[in-house]
Symmetry: D2
Subunit: 384 residues, 4 copies
């Protein structure tokens, strides 16, 4: 396909960078050609070598990389940013200014204004900006979205979304777990921990599936494990524009739960449910009919949703395939721009270029900030 | 056993009265001997005849019945009240004044003061007062309570309780469903519909299992189906004394759900989950151990809990058996009082007399009133 | 209703007799009036006293009881036989000769000829004979039967039935478990243990649901736990008349399984599945449609099936209710005969008198004998 | 890593070839460098071009490819054969004679002698031979194997394995489904259809997990859909060496089932269950303990099993990752041989080189032939 990418972060000892590389490799959408994988030059060089990257394209800093790549005739087409949240803004800006498309981890940044600025910058430079809300890549999620758009369950009345985990139920940050250490550290994670890491996925998933816009919310961010300064459990009541209501819960202290994102959407005519840990299935309850379980590959997913599946029903597809689906549409869009098209000509998050974009990143930042505002004031209602 | 009971409500065309009669009959704990089954005398007489009750003990009004029975040497030992909520207070008082133990449906009454008065009256007259929170009768529920009391999951941190139903998702009250008509009618149901009917079960179940006392709450009562004046969906954030937090949701518009009461309790050391529709099982997740499913009759329920089971593991016990368990302890207590004991001598809701009592009824009334207060003020936090 | 019954077996220390008494009491279909509950006269007298039976109707032997009751003007209408298999034939005959209807536990007897004789005797004397295949009492089972009769899944092609249990996985008979002792003892249990106790339920359930008649079978009866002389695990391949095939498995050594009777029926147009441990649900898979889960009380059970339910969807009904349903139709038939009708006038196992009858008991005896014959000959095919 | 591979089959319009390519790409274990993707040269050239393969290495026939590659200094290290079963023998032999390692789809060949010959040829030439029983690649499967080897459930007593599917429930071969056409065609599929395609997976999975060796079996191969000359449903009773028993069932007419391979293993001390459609979980029932569910990434999988997982618990891994795990160990072994080691020095199917080998392929062929022999003789027992 001829598309090349670089990566910031993802050196040896890191985790998620390799997940991205594997997901991109699955379908051979793009090849890695440059990187600044770590603040340690040795790590970057070693990682680059293992990935078959030329030494001259293993960079000491992201600034250097952005500048050097910008000047190359064979420059990378896009960069994947998998560093802690506090660095997203600066790195993203550097690459957008270098004329390179950006894929950035979530939550995007800390402030809504920063998110807006990045979105505007991308737009101005005819560049794509993708925020890796990876769960939107599941075919079943895309089918749910289309069911709702087509009105299959009627007007939505109530949404119940939850994302419980167990991994911070004990003070793992005190026993040397580095991932735990930075997650609970406000210097690195910003204003929130649990809400930013996983509550934001609940918000994003509801928004992606239903298109509902939040009008006001009332949030309680709990610091349950002694000594924490950031939240590890969060409950949020929502009012959406148009009158629907919502209830979200995310938690890192729910022993027995791993990545149990689950969304239940109640409409006038029926109910739709989806859970990340059984991603191939959708439970549908239509008024007056027996409960139904839809399976990817069998039960008539809409053509767009089905196009993101690689294998017949009954052979599980998982997280790597979902993330690969993000890259499938993203690299498709990159290819069109390389071919001379302009982003004005196509609308992201539409059928063709259905990847989570800067707009979703902004929504996530706003959600986090509004929840913090509500909780800090005593869990009162705040308008959007 | 020689214990006799009467019933108010439960005539032909009604539903729950027969459920109570069957549950009492299952173990032959008591025999029906009198009744005022309907405001229609014909219905009362016909019902009484079918039940083999002497015509002279088929009464026109509950007042008449209370007075007449009080004078008989073979008077009923207790009365079962299965009439709409608005009548509970008057009927209960009449029988307590007649020296007859009372079993009353929930929610008990509309105001906390009334509940207190009934509790005091019973106490003063050495009478038992049972409120039929029937789900407390499941053996698994009793085992959960004992697990928590014994500290098996450590200090409780968070509770998530929900009770979704579908039966009022459409305006059934407009198409002749009488049960729906009175449920949504404030004249009969009082200040609340969904919250009183099923939200109160969530409150009661959490309280029964955990012993947690509510300190403050923030409730949103939604009127989702057009034209409703009472709630049909409710979300509540809770703070308990001692620092634990809770989140409750009840709904009558959740298409695909029947009586899906489910409680998830998160402690420092583990998680316990129970769901009414699979009442024989308990899911337990202890930190660092594989998830476990405990089954009634197999997995070492505590002796008290196990004593409420009638059949080995794998043969389902259901709602009738749970309700029968309420009557099992209640009639046991009645028998002891008949034998000359005084209620001062035993502590209700202890191992021996583990039935839902007036105190629980009062808690339920208070919960409803506090939720109404919070929601009416714009879903603000109110102290208990 | 005025129907009276007696019981053989079911004294103190026994188990299943009380289950029958409770199931009969649930709906007040009949009252107990006589009994010979044990070979110990003391036990019989004590049990009778606790049940409120007159001392003169607590009999020393079943023969005495049959003769004495036959002479009474208020004689019992039917007798319930809950003794070990080896006694069923003699006791049943005594009561049929005394003009008393019989309800007998399964497996009915040891030889097909005995079963036939009992069936003929009942017929000749205008008496009812019920064999308590209790699982046929579940409303969902009756709905499955009707779905199949109406051709909803088309011609049946294959049936997979299994009934695994764990309770004899260790040699419980050597550690004082009396139930285990008599089950594995050929003197009391006859030719088979596992196959007779639970394999026969699989055979009965398939036969009841589908109406399929066995043409030939190939059975392997395993004696897995060392020292057993009777089977504790059994696999059977079936050919039915008309070309369908079947595969049955029953086991008492399946650690983790309780009473996991499950039947899967594959037809030309769809599949139906039912499991005893979730008795309120039916899974239906129709070709080209999403999988469906039908719930009792909600999803349009046929009127006959629904009439056996006592409470709305989502409130579990269990084993007691299923057994009560056997007695519901049985006592209905008893009442009609008391009212002067003759059994020629109605066809058992039809909508009106849908209880498991002598014919089913005979089928069960034949199945066991054919399996024993096949297995003894080296697991070869034997014709029916 | 520098390992190169070629492929026979897998051109445009085919399916499984692409699945293999994606699985190999996921971890970048090897690069594709040559191919003969179709009997159509145009297809081969077009497929090769899309995969970035030099035109001179897109071959007209597999013979040509084997000879040409054998002579190159940069010859492919291994070949992946994804053609219909009837061609496996000839193609495999050609590449083994060319000194190229082979990965071949299953069932390997039609006759045990052919399988033996291929195994011997590989051995003689110091070459690896992998048969893609892909389900052995799931981490949970590897953990089950190790649990059993370590005696966690004690001596195995009984195994119940099944693999139902629905896709041939109707005569899809008559409505233009090409996959169905060749599956039911004895010219291409050989002696069996259902048994070879999926029954062999059940055999392989039991063998892989337990190490049990079959001693004798009794098989019934059914031709259920009218007009079929090969089986579409199969039931098999097994006796293993050492006394354990087994029961297998595979079906292509089970409406509602996709790839529902499930294995239940009953030992003296406990039971282990695994199902392909929930591949991350293992259900374990130990005698006298509550049932447990083990989850990949959380519940202490043995180190070897865990090393095949790429992402934490709760993020599903699926079929692509399982197949990639086959290639992980296979390419690891290829690399060691490239580095000068000899296959005598390491034992395949051990911790280090845990991929399904020629021995497993032979076992599968023998199983199929013995089942055919049994069924053809009237479903009698045949010795191994």
């Amino acid at each position: 396909m001829g598309i090349k990418y670089g990566m910031i972060g993802g050196g040896q000892g890191a985790f998620i960078g390799d997940v991205h590389r594997k997901s991109i490799a699955l379908d051979a959408f793009a090849e890695i050609a440059a990187g600044c994988f770590s603040r340690s030059v040795e790590n970057t060089l070693e990682t680059g070598k293992n990935l078959g990257i030329a030494a001259e394209r293993c960079y000491k800093t992201y600034e250097e990389m952005a500048q050097a790549e910008a000047k190359r005739s064979d420059k990378i087409d896009f960069v994947v940013i998998v560093t802690p949240n506090s660095t997203h803004y600066d790195i993203s800006r550097a690459f957008l200014n270098a004329g390179i498309h950006v894929v950035c981890d979530k939550p995007l940044v800390w402030e809504t204004e920063q998110a807006q600025e990045l979105a505007d910058l991308a737009q101005k430079n005819n560049l794509l900006f993708c925020v890796t809300y990876s769960y939107t890549g599941y075919p079943a999620v895309k089918h749910v979205r289309e069911m709702i758009r087509k009105g299959e369950i009627g007007k939505i009345r109530f949404v119940n979304a939850e994302y419980p985990q167990e991994w911070l139920a004990s003070p793992a940050e005190k026993s040397g777990n580095r991932q735990a250490q930075w997650r609970v550290d406000p210097e690195i994670s910003g204003k929130v921990n649990c809400l930013g890491d996983i509550g934001s996925h609940a918000e994003n998933m509801v928004s992606y599936m239903t298109g509902l816009r939040i009008k006001s919310l009332c949030a309680r961010l709990d610091k349950i494990v002694e000594g924490r300064v950031l939240d590890d459990n969060a409950s949020i009541m929502i009012e959406y524009e148009g009158g629907a209501k919502g209830l979200y819960w995310s938690s890192q202290i729910a022993i027995g739960y791993f990545n149990a994102l689950r969304v239940r959407i109640f409409g006038e005519k029926g109910t739709i449910q989806w859970a990340q840990e059984s991603p191939d299935c959708i439970d549908v309850f239509m008024s007056g009919q027996p409960g139904m379980r839809l399976s990817r590959g069998r039960d008539g997913f809409y053509q767009h949703a089905q196009s993101f599946s690689r294998i017949p029903a009954g052979h599980p597809e998982g997280y790597f395939e979902a993330l690969a689906n993000i890259y499938k549409t993203f690299t498709g869009a990159v290819a069109m721009l390389k071919a001379g098209r302009h982003i004005r000509e196509f609308t992201p998050v539409e059928a063709e270029f259905d990847f989570p974009d800067a707009k979703m990143g902004m929504d996530g930042v706003k959600f986090i900030n509004k929840c913090v505002e509500s909780s800090a004031a005593g869990s009162v209602w705040v308008n959007y």
